[in-house]
Amino acid sequence: MLVSYEWLKEYVEIGDLTPEEVAEKLTRGGVEVDVIIPRSEGLDHVVVGYVEECQQHPNADKLNICQVNTGEETAQIICGAPNVAAGQRVAVAKPGARLPGGIKIKKAKLRGERSEGMICSLQELGIEQKLVTKEFIDGIYVFPEEAKVGEDAVEQLGLRDTVLELDLTPNRADCLSMIGVAYEMAALLDREVRHPGNDFHESEEAASDVVSVHIDVPEDNPYYGAHVIKNVTIKPSPMWIQNRLTAAGIRPINNVVDITNYVLLEYGQPLHAFDLHRFGSNQIVVRRAENGEKITTLDDEVRTLTEDHMVITNGTEPTALAGVMGGAFSEVQNDTTTILLEAAYFTPSRVRKASKDLGLRSESSIRFEKGIDSGRVEEAAERAVSLLEKYADGVVLKGKVHEDYRPKEHRTITTTSERLNQILGTDLKADEMLSIFRRLRLEAKTETEDRLVVNIPSRRPDLEIEEDLSEEVARLYGYDRIPVTLPEGITTPGSLTPVQKKRRKVRRYLEASGLHEAITYSLTSKKKTQQFLLNDVSGTVEVSLPMSEERSTMRTSLIPHLLDAVQYNQNRQMNDTAVFELGSVFIGEEGELTRQPEEKTMLGAAISGTWEVQLWQGEKTETDFYVVKGIIEGLFEELQFSHALSFTPSKKGELHPGRSADILFNDRNIGFIGQVHPRTAKEWGLKETYVFQLDLDLLLTEETNTLSYEPLPRYPSIARDIALVVNKDIPAAEVKEVIENAGGTLLKNVTLFDLYEGEKLEAGKKSLAFSLVYLDPERTLTDEEVTKTHENVLVDLKEKLDVELRR
């Protein structure tokens, strides 16, 4: 809603406040002013001039030499507009004027002829192209006869004004009208509201002699009224109406259309003018449309309707889409003489439905959808009738035709000042509240025992319950004056849940390990939901009407978008990337979703490039499988789950078959790790990259034992190192397991400290060296005891895995 400051002055005294002050008041009161738009800043030296002569320029076909009387003098001005002619009243920018586009007007010579100013188009004076009347869109503006030569043209065009653009919340539809804003302003300033006059004469002939009205579904249309105005002349509306429409962002068309728009802005009441001769009958029937019924609307579009939509008909065919837009064939045209003026109340949901289904929004539908003032329909209609009589030379037929099913009762809200004080934490007296309601023009009275009874006028349908009244009290009393307190109820300790705590622990660990946390989008492409899956997914979750294929489906894995991040960085010469993300993946069902999808919290990571570098020392570690595995092992240690972690070769298609593993937690598959398969990496355009993903829900919901101290050993331990020759395809973990089992309780620790593969060994063999630490917490071990156990280890290794000691 665009509110002209000058126009608003008509209804409420605000002359003592600047537009900025008005805006501040409104905003603080709850009607937010988004932008303050001065309509003509610094636009001076533009006057109404009279074109006395207009001759073609001797040296230019398209230019005219005009002699223009500007009140004080007659100036010669060269003008290139096609529509300039002698006898016009035009806007003349005199030398010294600076136009909104930045043009500075100077005396000049154009093709040899002097020019002492410029005849302006409305666009050149800062009016948006879309608001300029069709007549003047391609040329200069021509004032009507009433404009006085020599006067300030900026003033005449209503441009010495400031427009406030309101950003209205859905509940304040009452401020979609000038009078509504005036009520608000009057309440804030505690001043009076002035309504415009709406006097007119009625002829002997009655509207009901000419036309009838019938409402088919009163729930959809509680009120429909129509006036008939005969003998109208279609012509431009007076300047003041045109100027105000332009200020409000509506293009002037002709007097009849302008007047309906003017009253729409003034009262917030949409009106529609039909040409009665084109209407097609003498009966107005408001009904639901039939399925498949068609109407050509004013914008010349053919609309196909359903029974959810409501139409105005002439008894047979639709002449308007109720509350949204008129039909083409009954439109007011230049030869129109008799007008049927509709003023109705359509229910919000019905209009909203049509507007939404047909993708058609209008100044009218916007207001009906949000709810207009059902009590002011007739007043608005009469205002329009009075203007039509005056500015369209119409003869108003007596009375109106109407059907009325509006409830006659006004809503009342009963509350107490104690209750309102309780909601707000204030200590206001009933009298103070009554005074606030009086300012808001809400009739209120106190009854016994502190009871407040407030009558709600139809212009404020948003006020329904006590809490709504508390808001009215708060905003007029001032939120700044509400005290600052802390709740007085039971105090409770705040905390994170164990899972939330562990999630933070995971983040801290990974940050400290050198990974950057990433956050990627949940919506992805269908294709990316098929890659890097922890388990097969039963189905995906797709959004209806996606904005693009790339954002059509909820992700099923974190890895694809993390690879996108690695790629993004590689494309910018950032080759060393280590990112992790903690987030949900979404698992749907086969076929249509019947319940909410499963959401699992995953931990994903992608690491590429150099892992560590000490530049001048010349040390460098490239990221490899073991770097990434080490991070996972560390994480499990952090979570006290080291004992339950193991790795087994993986068969995931997107991973390198020889450098990938499934991650097992208590032998349950909870993740994967590996190098991205060179084929997949190529698709992404990635250098060697490693990834892992873990099901964090499984990991973090597992109970952890509280950490308890293990006594330090009181007796010395004995270490034995062994180098073994093992078949190449036997995993080190298997060798270690045999050692541990054979070593029994005395064997405290087994550490692999060397791996050798090379020509010093028989083909197909590798050497693994382990350090074994033996310890008895109760006594000092003897060498013999250790040797005995150690020999068992060697025997088992030989028997179970054909492992030899390396000589």
Binding site: I423, V484, T492, P493, E511, E517, N569, M574, Q596, Q617
Partner: protein
Amino acid sequence: MIDRLQELREEALQELEKASSVKDIDEVRVKYLGKKGPITEVLRGMGKLSAEERPKVGQLANEVREDIQAKVEEKTEEMEAAALEAQLASERIDVTLPGREVKRGARHPLTAVIEEIEDIFIGLGFQVTEGPEVETDYYNFEALNLPPDHPARDMQDSFYVTDDMLLRTQTSPVQARTMEKHNGVGPVKIICPGKVYRRDDDDATHSHQFMQIEGLYVDKGVRMSDLKGILNTFVKNYFGAERNIRLRPSFFPFTEPSVEVDVSCGICAGEGCRVCKQSGWIEVLGAGMVHPRVLEMSGFDAKEYSGFAFGMGVERFALLKYGIDDIRHFYTNDIRFLDQFKRV
């Protein structure tokens, strides 16, 4: 004999003086003080001396030994000190060369903001609760007083996945779910951080996915002034003790009264600047008293219980806190961007 001893002392001390290494000193020591050394030899001839002379010579011999020994020690210390000096000199390094880099990652700025806010509210007695990102229409809208035809649904065009399921447009459904679980018994004090989705084209100020933190406090006798108190405490904790809040009336379907909360501008301290668009205030939160219908729908008796709710955009807080100019940075994961948050 006495002369001889004196002589030997002179000689030894002179030789020691000349010694230029620990080895030289040791040689001198062995030469004079050794078992076959001249002093021992002199002493061996003591038998020939008179009983009077003997102690004198003996004493002198001891003195000579002690003197030599003292000189040896002094000289050795000197030598060792010099040697250490030389070693230290040779071990000198360039302390201005860079140290070994400790590899460190970084927290995502949105996580940093969320955790900081969580911690402040935990301190005020709140729990952190979470819920599904794919929500039912009921919890996302209806339970929050937004029936199917409500005009406010226009404010947030959403991604539906079925007729009655959608990507949540706010984290308030978690509040509705949590209230239901309380079976009408308060207090409920929660904040709900999480991802939300709205049908917006991504640009510098819009994102189809973003993060919110919503808070809820329901108990008997909760007042608007309490909302002011809690938010005031929060804002001073988060933005700084010198910052103030201001409430402006607004509208949200699930609260009544509803307010926008502004915080005084930290750049200009309320004087007006570019950041606050000359107003001196920056909008940071939406809040209000929980609508009685919302309380009732979630099983609370609105005559007995009341509460307040508030919601804030995490990106907006991060933008304000770190002066970031484009919301897309949060989701592009440019290492050069992320790396700057090592310090948070």
